[in-house]
Amino acid sequence: QMNFTGDQVLRVLAKDEKQLSLLRDLEGLKPQKVDFWRGPARPSLPVDMRVPSSELKDVKAYLESHGLAYSIMIKDIQVLLDQEREAMAKSRR
């Protein structure tokens, strides 16, 4: 099983189309690194993206430098995965 320790899901609220395209650019800047759980669609909809722990510093710097407001939706993905796995094992028992 892949381990996602320290990976976070950031929720970004793009104000306008320009900011949305900055987010789309991120996929090109960080190929196969940034995983859009909710892709850049329209300003009224949040963008959720999973960022590996190794890329967090860069990605947050990119967002902040472009004035993109974000919050941390999931602080550590692996914690939720461990809970999910434990719940499945418990249910099986």
Binding site: Q1, M2, R38
Partner: protein, 310 residues
Amino acid sequence: LERSTSSFSYSSYHTLEEIYSWMDNFVTEHSDIVSKIQIGHSFENRSILVLKFSTGGSQRPAIWMDTGIHSREWVTHATGIWTAKKIVSEYGEDRILTNILMSMDIFMEIVSNPDGFAFTHSMNRLWRKNKSNRRGIFCIGVDLNRNWRSGFGGNGSNDNPCSETYRGPYPHSEPEVAAIVDFITAHGNIKTLISIHSYSQMLMYPYGHLLEPVSNQEELYNLAKDAAQALYEVHGIKYIYGSVSSTLYMASGITVDWAYDNGIKYSFSFELRDTGRYGFLLPATEIIPTAQEVWMAIRTIMKHTLNHLY
């Protein structure tokens, strides 16, 4: 493995083996109304299975439902399982569902992407695509919701095999998609298609690959509105609704567009809840509330189909 569905936990996530074992028990226990059909094999040669709910007749108008085309969306498979159980337990009790099943059949494909789903349990919980790999292509997997022959290759899909929305080398290149296409085309009397995804709490209808409205846009909008209202009344979860391209984004080669272009007037896709906190990692405690609310929306759509057969 479980020997009967009575000890099966509908409020937990399960592996592919557990789901396929549940299916066998479920069909055995409800053989008067449920049967299992194999419609094909996945890229890695796993069976692709469909549950058929029928009270008789032949070639009846029918409803198609699929869950799990994106493998990491675990709450959709779990919702499909709960919905199957709901159908057999409500038949004979719920007048609307009973009327539906007296005139129509229901087909439900619970694991539309078995290879990807198995991979989420074995290697990568966040895997989305199928597992196809082709000579000379560096990355694995095709996004099965971009591989349909409707607007294939347009905006909102990707020709980069490493992208999460890679559309595949050509329409219906993927056995998981071709199996559904062949089944629905051969059946020839499917009147409604409901494809269930997660997450973001949306109920959408065609088109994704075009901005122009479909011919019965007003009917679909009003039906989506009624369905979203029926869903909201269960647990107060709000869904937005509209066409894919106007509600979410341009997406080409998607299931609902192909269905609509092939004569299925009532073609919808759901994006189930996450309540803004968990994304694809919705806790198992939310499986049943999610399934309960989406059942009321599905029931609304099926009732409309029954009253407006075409």
